[in-house]
Amino acid sequence: MLGELTFDPLFNETGIPLAVMGMLLVFVALSILVGVITAMPHIIALLEGNADAAEPTPSHAKSSATKSPTTAPSVGPNSDPNSDPELSPELIAVIAAAAEAELGAVRVVRMRPLTPSEIAWTLEGRLRHHASHRLQPRNR
């Protein structure tokens, strides 16, 4: 039975009609999302009036950090530690603490950059993603 071609099941309720309905539902759902997302900034602006027309700075800063890939290449891979999702505030705090304590000096002798796959999991769209060498697998 398996492997032989049978076209009857296509014309049952659970055949083409289901497939069509499924695609329709996917499109309807995502189209509504498109509409909602398009409308959202306008609705928010309406609700707020001009009271706080100026975007709150923190989100601004964060967005711009992740939103401008074309300018990013000039920036070092870790120049904005705050935007890294794996960097806990404690981590940043401790370095600040160290910095405050003054005197002495630090140099990191060597570091391993994140492997491509580790970065991949963050889905952050950072510049390191751009390096096409990710697709030319290392040979070991």
Binding site: M1, G22, V26, S59, H130
Partner: protein
């Protein structure tokens, strides 16, 4: 009985207690398959976080069983069976979605919503494969579970299989992850075939800034929209957007951090290992599995083509054209297919940075596949 006879008897007795007497060709083949998975993961860097656990799990699952000892994921009372519970009952996939939600940045998608439709178009891969599986003689439940391979989303595939066709779960999961790992091999030729050089050169305008408020509202609204339309997707979609809300709402950072690190890592290890260990040769090496692999290749190809062609279709109506390569990112396989789009784009124009834009259809594809899974489940459950 002289000394030599005695030693021979003893040696043979000991040999009987090893796994060699019950080793069958099927097990050996599967062990080699497992080794290939591990090799590809390490040497080629193909989805290593999943292929290493799955590959090693395949090796473990194909060490032949010993009678009377509960060892495999299918033996009542074995340790692996307890760990496999989360696969079999579909508990792990939503937890993984929770972690994925807590690491996904939907900003690009929010700043360019029309790209979401590319993620919808790619679901033609799901329903096309579903029809293909019906034609090949699978019953509708099985066909639904096989179709979801076209969603290019491992946890979704495992979740739906566990609900509709548990007996095919291993083959479907392995097929889904195999092709996800092979996205950089499968997609480029299709993309180049279906696009002209000019189309590939199209540059996308820079995205607008998305406010914190939008990013907080989005997961809540999107959840309501998606699950009111496809309530079968509630667990996957719910966890995805719950995780995203934890990430974006600014007051639950420590929960989001754990969800996207410790929690998802633990579940990933267990899920991958158990899925691998479930491919014991007698359960896995069947005609079904081969057909499923064939259908899986079809699914990925159709999904890629649908995305690209739909982008070209949209361009008929849009003033600002979309680079049709972005359509290929509608196949979720996050973030590999987005990277493939970026790479193929750069082949045509090294100054064209498509990655950020490709993330939009990419994450939309995740949502689309979850909805597709919900529809298939709710229609086929009864």
């Amino acid at each position: 009985m002289n000394a030599i006879e005695f030693l021979t008897t003893k040696a043979s007795q000991i040999f009987q207690t090893t796994a060699f007497p019950s080793l069958e060709v099927g097990n050996a083949i599967m062990i080699v398959v497992g080794l290939i998975f591990v090799y590809l993961a390490i040497a080629k860097d193909y989805e290593p976080l999943l292929l290493v656990p799955i590959g090693f799990g395949i090796i473990v699952g194909n060490i032949p069983a010993v009678e009377g000892m509960p060892l495999s994921v299918y033996d009542e009372g074995s340790v692996l069976r307890y760990l496999y519970f989360g696969v079999e009952r579909g508990v792990y996939p939503p937890l993984i979605f929770l972690g994925i939600g807590a690491m996904t940045d939907f900003s690009t998608m929010l700043s360019n919503p029309k790209l979401i439709l590319l993620g919808a178009a790619a679901q033609i891969g799901v329903f096309g494969t579903f029809l293909g599986a019906l034609v090949l003689g699978f019953d509708p439940h099985e066909a639904g579970a096989i179709g979801i391979i076209g969603g290019a989303d491992g946890p979704t595939a495992i979740f739906l299989s566990s609900r509709l066709a548990p007996q095919l779960l291993g083959a479907i999961a392995i097929a889904a992850y195999s092709y996800m790992a092979l996205v950089p091999v499968i997609q480029p030729p299709i993309m180049k075939l279906l696009t002209t050089k000019e189309e590939r050169l199209i540059r996308m305008p820079p995205s607008r800034t998305v406010s914190t408020r939008e990013r907080i509202l989005f997961p809540i609204i999107a959840f309501l929209v998606c699950t009111m339309l496809a309530p079968g997707a509630i667990v996957l979609i719910g966890m995805l957007f719950f995780g995203n809300l934890l990430k974006e709402c600014t007051v639950t950072d420590r929960l989001a951090a754990t969800a996207r690190s410790g929690m998802i890592d633990i579940v990933t290890i267990l899920l991958g290992f158990c899925v691998g260990a479930s491919t014991s040769a007698p359960y896995f090496l069947k005609q079904e599995s081969i057909l499923i692999f064939v259908l899986g290749a079809l699914a990925f190809s159709v999904a890629t083509a649908s995305g690209v062609l739909f982008a070209k279709f949209m361009n008929l109506f849009l003033r600002t054209k979309i680079n049709p390569l972005l359509g290929a990112a509608g196949v979720s396989a996050v973030p590999d297919s987005a990277r493939v789009v970026h790479m193929v784009g750069r082949e045509a124009d090294p100054q064209n940075f498509l990655l950020m834009h490709a993330m939009a259809p990419n994450v939309a594809g995740v949502i689309g596949s979850a909805i597709a899974a919900g529809v298939l489940w709710s229609q086929l459950a009864n």
